[in-house]
Subunit: 339 residues, 2 copies
DNA sequence: TTGTAGGCGTTATCAT
DNA sequence: ATGATAACGCCTACAA
């Protein structure tokens, strides 16, 4: 159980520790015979370089941390969790980085944890999921010049490395298509006002309306908490206006749209015949529901990949210019709107 | 950006590095005046102990790794992902451990990665999610005497530390209740035969039938891949037998049950009036669907907590007895069965 | 092509 | 109560 070190290998192979070290890094200045011999010894002894020791001398630990705003933004973040990690992990593995997770029951303690990881030198950089409160940690990160990448958008900070999708554009184009399909009384069921994503999506909606020469009707906007129940409730309020006032509900999130689906059903409105419903995010549930929920899909895994790649290159190059990557979204047409 | 070390603190505070070290560990043999003074210096210099260096001398890195069988068992594992991590992370944070994630596109490379983490001494132990192929890595882990905990069950290995739910018992009791409610022609829509969970759940079903004196009818058992589509298809086959042959479908997983729901709907069967449907796992979608899916819920977060706690205690105590924790499940009654 | 020595930041042992 | 010194396992000048 106790560790085989470079010295053990050296002794058995009858070379010096430095030679072994050079074999590990496949140095060109070692004869192939010694290399072979040393490698054979490494195998037979079951030697594995101690990552901690290497980190200490190299001053590089080759690992990054992921900070999810799970507690506060749970409803929103949940569906992302899997995919974003998949993406990040794919590239970290490929680039020989390790991935550490921070977690806590409050966003404050979570970011405190993450910052600590950085200061203790356990990770070399951070990937942050944008949230209502990520502004402050970003300020710290920028001030202390730590490598990081933001997934999403921050109101407070503009010139930072980030990967995101364009919510304004996505909704605008979707609504444009909806209008082209004949919808004209489109309601917007938003999440809480203080989420940037909600603001952006609402703005996309307004821009599309303006573009089509449709008047913006504030009474068709409703704000709900990010919950299924809240979605149902607020959708009911919207639906209560009657069929000639409203022919489609655009949910700022699938959960909300799913709530709207349920509310319409409860009132005996047929979807998509009596009313169209569309969501955002392409939650797994969107395809499991009947009728299937048409929704805007964000390639989250790809965002994770890009974020990880970006962070690693920042770490390695030490250059830190506020480059942004915007990932295009895609409409997934299912059965909840008329085609 | 360059690191403040214990030596810097020592110099400024005009003490020796060892004194600083003792202040860090709050040693009782340091006068409170020096402690205060040193702490003040640490603050003013922004000193943070280097975790890597500590790990090197302590021969303890205080971190564990999580191995998910994501690629192969995606459908099954997905819903667990979030919650299990929540649970694990809660404990690791509380116990001052770090959590590392391994990930890869094949289970082989994922476990290879994980094993590597162990050998490189980057983690002190592993939490494994049981899967079809986790047998081999467990063999290795046991042979090389590495600390680990299994979440789930392994066919090949009996006496290992693990946390699980009792699938046999859960289904048995659920079916018992279903029978008490008047169901007597219960079909079982299983996942692939080679999953232990499926075998166990099927056995629970059989035991409940036997207990109630109902005959086991093989034609009411169907095996599907773990996908919604497969669930729909196989449910159709079952449903084709007609209403007097079948009054409930028990899905070995929510995804399958959701497929059954859809199939029943497609045939114009009313749920729960014409047929009852029940699932397992309590996927988020189960509550978003109409009618809401009755299902068996596993407290996954709690399993994560227990697993993490168990692993840490194994690491610290170096004792390794195959203790098991079985977490009780719970039926979540919704609208897809008659009450 | 290989070996020697010093150091990465910390802790533990042995002095004082 | 505090300091000097030697590790922990590895890497990298500098030497040979």
């Amino acid at each position: 159980m106790d560790q085989v070190t470079i010295k053990d290998v050296a002794r058995v192979a009858e070379v010096s520790p430095s030679t072994v070290s050079r074999v590990i890094s496949d140095s060109s200045q070692i004869s192939s015979e010694t290399k072979e011999r040393v490698r054979a010894v490494m195998d037979s002894l079951g030697y594995h370089p101690n990552a901690i020791a290497r980190s200490l001398v190299n001053q590089r630990c080759n690992s990054i941390g992921l900070v999810m705003a799970r507690p506060t933004d749970r409803a929103l973040a949940n569906p992302f969790f899997n995919d974003i990690i998949q993406g990040i992990a794919a590239v970290t593995q490929q680039e020989n980085f390790s991935l550490m997770l921070t977690s806590a029951d409050s966003y404050e303690s979570e970011t405190r944890e993450a910052l600590n990881l950085l200061k203790k030198r356990q990770v070399e950089g951070l990937i942050l999921m944008a949230s209502r409160t990520s502004g402050e940690i970003i300020t710290t990160l920028v001030r202390e010049n730590y490598p990081f990448v933001l997934v999403g958008r921050s109101q407070e900070h503009k010139e930072i490395p980030r990967v995101d999708n364009n919510n304004i554009k996505a909704v605008k184009e979707t609504v444009r298509e909806l209008i082209a399909k004949g919808y004209s009384n489109i309601a917007f069921l938003s999440g809480p006002k203080d989420y940037v994503v909600c603001q952006d999506r609402l703005q996309g909606y307004r821009e599309a309306l303006a573009e089509a020469g449709l008047v913006f009707r504030p009474e068709l906007i409703s704000y709900a908490e990010f919950s299924y129940e809240a979605g149902i409730k607020k959708a009911h309020n919207l639906l209560a206006r009657g069929q000639q006032q409203i022919d489609l509900i655009f949910g700022a999130d699938d959960l909300l749209a799913l709530g709207a689906l349920r509310a319409a059903e409860a009132r005996g409105w047929k979807v998509p015949d009596d009313i169209g419903i569309i969501g955002f995010n392409d939650t797994p549930a969107a395809s499991l529901v009947n009728p299937g929920l048409t929704t805007v899909k964000i390639p989250i895994k790809e965002m994770g990949e890009r974020a990880a790649r970006m962070l690693i290159s920042i770490i390695e190059d030490h250059k830190y210019q506020g480059e942004e990557v915007i990932i295009p979204t895609e409409i997934v047409w299912r059965d909840s709107v008329l085609l």
